[in-house]
């Protein structure tokens, strides 16, 4: 029997990812990633 669940999950999550990209979330992640994260290094 062909398993459909992984394909359904993949479609849903790719959809969420695209929605996030369309909402401009890539830029938000990039802005955080190119700044030294003081919390991460223990001085935040």
């Amino acid at each position: 029997m062909k398993r459909r669940l992984p394909w359904v999950l993949l479609t849903v999550f790719l959809g969420l990812m695209v929605a996030g990209l369309l909402l401009g979330e890539y830029k938000a992640v990039l802005e955080k990633a190119v700044t030294v994260c003081l919390d991460c290094i223990g001085i935040g």
Partner: protein, 301 residues
């Protein structure tokens, strides 16, 4: 034979290449700066601090905490940003391979396996501690960043701030050593995180992948997909003799004969190599590989 039959015998090289590929901007190790290219917004499927000087991608756990910590601020500013990009990315990776990046690409996973090779007496890792990683995920990665905000409606990245030893090792120590401007800011939090890192390094030497099993929120997320991913493990009960060789060789002490697609499995495929009775197999798309049945071969001979 399947696509992973030969690579799995050289998995440590894939782990090393993964660590290097994700942290390829090596000149920054001389300057104490971090890579700031435009591709750094691309998430990587492993726990890898984006403040590591050479990191070329975004840590999904750092990114998702930042997204949750900013939700209320964004809503106040009428901006609809909920972390869907990172959630979608993690879900997509999980839907295809489940927790496989933990076993093949994660630099911190590689470190834990190497530390465990140090020849000192070993301890069994208590299995119930595996549930703790869900608590770290629910409380420090999702709950507190969403719920506790300052006067500007901005939350904090609690897991990065209070726990993440990968951040201390990959970013905290290197940046403090290399960047004189940051050195003056060292205080209690820094020493707390260094102490936690030392604790985890010690635990790594005596038990297998303690951080992955008890703490890692990324492993907790990807592990939830193990049962529903395209990549599947399977154990043939008729062939399995319960010799437990797979459990002995497994980097997370997994009893794969009890649950082939357990959320604890990092899908390193060492068990496929270990099993001498052809009982363990995996399926991925149209590829299928079964452990070699040496008993059957012997009988045939």
């Amino acid at each position: 034979m399947g696509i992973l039959s030969k690579p799995r015998r050289k998995r440590v090289w894939y782990q090393a290449l993964g660590a290097l590929g994700i942290n390829a901007w090596l000149p920054n190790w001389l300057t104490g700066q971090i890579y700031q290219g435009k591709i750094k917004g691309v998430c990587v499927p492993v726990l890898n601090c984006y403040s590591c000087p050479s990191a070329m991608g975004a840590c999904p756990i750092g990114a998702i905490q930042t997204s949750f910590a900013s939700v209320r601020l964004n809503l106040a500013a009428a901006e609809a940003k909920f972390g869907l990009y990172v959630i979608g990315f993690l879900g997509a990776v999980g839907s295809v391979v489940g927790r496989m990046p933990c076993g093949w690409l994660c630099p911190f996973g590689l470190l834990q396996e190497l530390m465990h090779k140090i020849p000192i007496p070993k301890l069994k890792f208590p299995r119930f501690l595996s549930y703790f990683r869900y608590a770290f995920l629910a409380v420090l990665v999702v709950g507190l960043p969403l719920l506790i905000v300052d006067q500007y409606d901005l939350g904090q990245t609690w897991f990065c701030k209070w726990v993440c030893p990968a951040g201390t090792l990959e970013a905290g120590i290197p940046l403090i050593v290399l960047n004189a401007g940051l050195r003056g800011l060292v205080g209690f939090m820094y020493y707390w995180k260094v102490a936690l890192l030392v604790l985890f390094l010690g635990l790594m030497t005596v038990s297998r992948r303690p951080f992955c099993r008890a703490v890692c929120p990324l492993g907790a997320i990807l592990g939830l997909f193990n049962k529903g991913s395209l990549f599947r493990m399977a154990v043939d009960d008729e062939k399995c003799t319960l010799c437990k060789k797979c459990e002995k060789d497994c980097p997370v002490d997994l009893r794969i004969y009890e649950s082939a697609n357990s959320p604890d499995c990092v899908r390193c495929l060492k068990c496929v190599e270990s099993c001498k009775f052809g009982a363990i197999s995996y399926d991925f798309l149209k590829r299928h590989e079964v452990a070699e049945d040496l008993r059957a071969r012997k009988e045939a001979a």
